[in-house]
Amino acid sequence: MKLEVVRPGFATTVQDLGRPGHAALGVGRSGAADRSSFRLANRLVGNPSGAAALEVTLGGLVLRASAVTTVAVTGAACPLSKGGPNGPITLWPGEKLALGTAVSGLRCYVAVRGGIDVPPVLGSRATDTLGKLGPPPLAAGMLLPIGPAPQAFPVVDLAPRAALPASPVLRVTPGPRRDWFAAPDDLLSTVYTVSPDSDRVGIRFTGPPLSRARHDELPSEACVPGSLQVPPSGRPILFHADHPTTGGYPVLAVVEEEDLDLAAQLRPGQTVRFRRAS
């Protein structure tokens, strides 16, 4: 069983839960940026939660099934040519599924019953866009191998999800280099705008620059997902799924792991605030 990529959309990659534990080699975790949407998509088609699925940025993907197959689409709100989001959709042989352009949120997840069965690299099928590991991004005409259907059947018809907040707030805890900033709490009182120069590696923000109390060079140190790294331009960069394992600019704060799914849905031009985690 194979799925044909009729149109890849704006940017679509294969993702799973990534390859944690290799940071000392310089290999980042990678994997789905919005992990709760990813897991839900797999659950809706009866897959194990870590089966490889498609991460579709902004929509536009068109797939054609060669055999009867069950798929599910979660994440960003995106018009579908058949069925609806957050529930299983049956595709008949030769039938297409088209995703329109996302109207709210940024990333959709398309899980296919059986999972995308590309060869794993260092234990994962995820595309690491920074580390250039895993399968290449989808292109028109590609045939995606689908694994055998799992024994479990989908048990949920629909999993309604709350709409994404219009004014997202990300919770932060102090980072290792908070004391390198003249007024670190400015982070919490500033309204930032998501820059178009954002991707799976990092979400860049525009807004008034944070000023440094120390101007010396920081020897490179390991970073965790969610790190808000501040280069000398003073505008924070939120390290996301494909973030570098080490960085040379000070990390002011760390976005809570639970809020990284929400961060993955931020659209360029949208405003965002940071709040201290309780």
Binding site: A24, L25, L130, G131, G175, V201, A222, C223, P231, E256
Partner: protein, 203 residues
């Protein structure tokens, strides 16, 4: 020896220590409950832990009590990398260091380097041992894309970008030797301890 513990989200502590590799070896041997991963860097060791097993307080007490062990690095061999010195930042580095472009090249290719740690991207090795004159700062705003094979410097380190990536280092040139190849075992050409030399070659 005193260490400084810095918070790093709810699942990590950054340990600032004068002997990162010795500290890492000691901690790896001790294997405290809940510790999932150790990531060494220049002056710090990231300790990632499972917050359902331990917490920063309990782990902190353990981390303060660790004594580094003697970590004599095993000799991991020598690699010679041919470099075409035509990097975009060559003139800027020359101006900043007060050297001519030719002497920047001579000093960089004349040095002998050792891989100190890996990080940032798969196969990105931080090579220590560069001439102190060449210890220049990173760019104030990182480039969004640096081509693979770029040979670059920042602070006390040299490196070869293993794949196209963003980065803030100063570009001196390029090499065609792949430093990371996932089909190779091991995929990393420059594991810690490897001695490295750069030789200037014509373009």
């Amino acid at each position: 020896m005193t260490v400084r513990l810095l918070p790093c989200g709810r699942r990590g502590v950054l340990v600032e220590t004068g002997d990162v590799l010795g500290y890492q070896a000691a901690l790896a041997e001790l294997a405290p409950d809940g510790v999932e991963e150790l990531v060494p860097a220049a002056r710090t060791l990231l300790v990632r832990f499972d917050p359902s097993v331990t917490d920063a307080g309990r782990l902190g007490a353990v981390l303060r009590a660790v004594s580094p062990v003697d970590s004599a690095t095993a000799d991991a061999g020598e690699v010679v990398l041919p470099v075409v010195y035509d990097g975009e930042d060559l003139a800027e580095v020359a101006a900043e260091t007060g050297l001519s472009v030719d002497s920047v090249i001579a000093r960089h290719s004349g040095g002998s380097y050792v891989s100190a740690f890996c990080g940032f991207a798969p196969g990105f090795a931080y090579l220590s041992g560069s001439d102190p004159v060449l210890h220049v700062a990173r760019r104030s705003s990182p480039r969004t894309r640096i081509p693979p094979g770029s040979v670059a410097i920042a602070g006390e380190y040299s490196a070869v970008y293993p794949s196209a990536s963003p980065g803030g280092w100063r570009l001196l040139g390029r090499t065609t030797v792949p430093v990371w190849d996932v089909e190779r075992d091991p995929p990393n050409l420059l594991p810690p301890g490897t001695r490295v030399r750069f030789t200037a070659v014509p373009s």
